[in-house]
Amino acid sequence: MDQFFTSSILTATVASGIALATPFLLASLGETMGQRSGVINLGVDGIMLLSAFASYYVALRSGNLLLAVLAGAGVGLLMGIATAFISVTLKAEQGISGIGVYLFGLGLSDLLFVKLVGTPLPIASLDSFRIPLLSQIPLLGPMFFQQTVLVYFAFLLVPVVTFVLNRTTYGVQIKAAGENPAAADSLGVSVARIRWSTVLIGGTMAGLAGASLLLYDGIFQQNLTQSEGFIAVALVYFGGWTAWGVMGGSLLYGLVGAVVLAWKSLGIIPLSASDLAATAPAVLTVLALLSVGRRFRQPAVLGKPYERGD
């Protein structure tokens, strides 16, 4: 255990925890927007998988990581369009249609991987970007300011999403669509348009989450996400439908994951128990959800399609 409590290991663990948290954060921030407007998208994991594959394929073919990220985001947007069409326009049962989107993403990403790539080859990983001056601070620098651009981008989005939800008329409309769509409708707010927009944002962010996960791992494999997209949906509940809460949940999840990884490599956790240990973040999240999640009230019409009354 002593070997873990050295400054170099601790900073490395925190740094990797933040990196691990990033895909969760991106996906759950987008999902927060959608859920605040009343749409629950359970297909996040499928979107992440398909986007991760798109990123992987573009990176493999072009070697350009920027293009790879854009491809991930673009596929996320397309899947967002499909999700919005199903959930908002067709008013499908969101709990079921989301699972459909998930299975579609899971199956298609695997099929394309087998057909287009076959043998997995690693891709170049995203370089970390050392922020001038800040990255020089002892301890804190290596923890926070030697990350990839995607990490910075994800964490910068937290105050942005908070601002959008609380200090813009768009945010008021999102919340109204999720709490009392009939009231919003009677005031000339198009509930469908608002929900389309948040689902597209959510899809794009899930796409970015897939790309960031892929670039962290550096290689694609079947079911790359291992259901992280579902965790991202759970983190929205954990975070009480706020960006800061979602960030807290993502960090908790990422840090526990990083600690488990570090302990495994240091031999603190024996190999025989490593599979069990890998469940720690999920178990912890469930426990945290039980204790924290109830303090918040979910959007009143979460998951319910809006039909104009008579």
């Binding site: 200090r167 813009t168 008329t169 768009y170 945010g171 008021v172 409309q173 919340k175 109204a176 709490e179 009392n180 009939a182 009231a183 919003a184 409708d185 009677s186 005031l187 000339g188 707010v189 009230r297 009143a300």
Partner: protein, 527 residues
């Protein structure tokens, strides 16, 4: 009615004041599927600076007319004019752009948002995406002050009373510079003091040149607030009168189409039905205690007795244990101590089926939620309690044809107006829903009827009808417990009146000797 359609924008300013109405409906007809004509050539107009009342019973076509004015429905014939020009309104939003705003009975506010957020939802005075709470809150306070409304712009809607929420809804319209405000039964949710406040705000609005369309079935308040009154009956606009030139009786006659009985039937005055005082109660409560929804004791040692053929009124301000009392008797809530006896034999608590089988009928306060199943048909609702015993059946199979025939008979007997036994109850007006409840409860030949706020939200005609049914049932020997916040109703119908205050019976008085002062003091806990 003189409508100057040609008045162009240039001349409008000077001409509008008296001549061109702010809003007018001209020969509006609206038919629904199934041949129902909800509005039949309805016309009325509201001038600038006028309070114009639309008066009519439930089902007279007021709501349909409002839905047309606010763009929810499109008229099949006729037209809507704003400032003398015909307008086609395709949505509430378009109506709002023409300056027409409606304050609904079911208020359209978002509970979890603040007052200020609700006000800027969908439309802001400021361009751009940015929403600055402090700025909007200042604007709200300014409007509130001008119209004599007390408003905390920072509060969240769920923290506010119904009266306060209504104020926010009105304020929202004023923030958008509404020129025509439609208030749909606004006083239903208000205390008398709040009603006064609303009326002074309305006076300020019309003084500022706005028009208010005031929908109501309460005659005195219509007379108090309106300049002119248009009476709707069975989908037609009967006439428009000056409020100054009519009285309550005249209005009532116009509204229901025939003279109302002079004064309601008063049981005590009717004499014949009054049971001897020494008779044993058919329903007796002895020191009954019960807990409320949150585990706090809300009924304390309630002892009451209802004799056969008697109406026992339960008076009290809402929330003093009335609902729990009714639920305890109906078996929906277990009592923690004490005894409930029906015909002398104990009725065990918390068993609604036992209560039903022993002859307890119950008209719940929450009509749509507890009283009926809104998505089921009239027949199905009428069978809800009798399906175990009396419903026509062959083995386990219900014979729906015969059940329909039974319900048609009941619909006749209780004057339930609907498209037929298969009509869904949620499509019925409030009065007809209550008649369905009464028909079901009374057709089971009950010993006791517990009626909780049986006339709340009903129009004059339906209220009269319900009162008549209660009095009739009592005359036929049913013991009736009438729980109501409407003291007039209690005093007019009851033989004896018990007053509940903080879950205790603070007194039982003979209705013939009761005075409002005495009852009011008891209800306020002062006696």
């Amino acid at each position: 009615m003189s409508i100057h359609v040609e008045a162009g924008p240039a001349s409008a300013e000077s001409a509008t004041a008296g001549l061109v109405p702010a809003v007018a409906a001209i020969g509006v007809t609206k038919r629904f599927a199934g041949g129902v004509v909800a509005n039949d050539r309805v016309s009325f107009d509201a001038r600038r600076g006028e309070v114009h009342a639309l008066l009519g019973e439930n089902g007279a076509g007021k709501t349909t007319l409002c839905n047309i004015l606010t763009g929810l429905y499109h008229p099949d014939e006729g037209e809507i004019q704003v400032d003398g020009s015909p307008v086609r309104l395709h949505s509430p939003h378009e109506a709002q752009r023409s300056g027409i705003f409606m304050v609904h009975q079911h208020l359209s506010l978002v509970d979890s948002l603040t007052v200020a957020e609700n006000v800027v939802l969908g439309w802001s005075r400021h361009r751009g995406l940015r929403y600055t709470p402090r700025q909007v809150e200042a604007e709200i306070s300014e409007i509130a002050a001008r119209y004599q409304m007390q408003v905390d712009p920072h509060a969240r809607i769920w923290q506010l009373s119904l009266g306060e929420r209504q104020r926010i809804d009105i304020l929202k319209a004023l923030y958008r510079d509404a020129r025509i405000l439609i208030l749909d039964e606004p006083t239903t949710v208000l205390t008398p003091a709040e009603t006064e406040q609303l009326f002074s705000s309305v006076h300020e609005m019309v003084a500022a040149g706005r028009s208010v369309v005031f929908i109501s079935h309460k005659l005195p308040e219509v007379l108090a607030i309106a300049n002119r009154i248009t009476i709707l009956r069975k989908g037609r606009s009967v006439t428009t009168v000056d409020a100054a030139g009519v009285d309550v009786r005249e209005l009532a006659r116009l509204m229901v189409g025939h003279d109302m009985p002079a004064g309601r039937v008063r049981r005590a005055a009717a004499g014949s039905g009054t049971p001897p005082a020494d008779q044993r109660g058919v329903l007796e409560l002895e020191r009954v205690c019960a807990d409320g929804d949150f585990g706090i004791q809300v009924l304390h040692d309630v002892s009451l007795s209802v004799r056969p053929g008697e109406i026992l009124g339960i008076a009290g301000v809402a929330g003093n244990g009335q609902r729990e009392l009714a639920e305890v008797i109906a078996g929906l809530r277990a009592h923690s101590r004490g005894a409930i006896r029906l015909d002398g034999a104990e009725l065990h608590g918390g068993d609604p089926r036992a209560a039903i089988n022993r002859g307890v009928a119950y008209v719940p306060e929450d009509r749509m939620g507890t009283g009926v199943s809104p998505s089921l048909s009239v027949t199905e609702n009428l069978m809800l309690k009798s399906y175990r015993r009396d419903a026509p059946h062959a083995g386990p199979v219900l014979l729906m044809d015969r059940a329909d025939a039974q319900s048609v008979a009941l619909m006749e007997q209780f004057d339930i107006r609907s498209r037929g036994p298969h009509a869904l109850v949620r499509q019925l007006s409030g009065g007809n829903v209550q008649k369905v409840v009464l028909a079901r409860e009374l057709s089971s030949q009950p010993r006791v009827l517990v009626a909780a706020s049986p006339t709340r939200g009903l129009d004059v005609g339906a209220t009269e009808y319900v009162h008549g049914v209660l009095v009739d049932s009592a005359r036929r020997g049913v013991g009736i417990m009438l729980i109501s916040e409407d003291l007039d109703e209690i005093v007019e119908l009851s033989d004896r009146i018990a007053v509940l205050y903080e879950g205790r019976v603070v007194g039982i008085v003979d209705a013939a000797q009761a005075s409002y002062e005495q009852l009011g003091m008891m209800m306020a806990g002062a006696a």
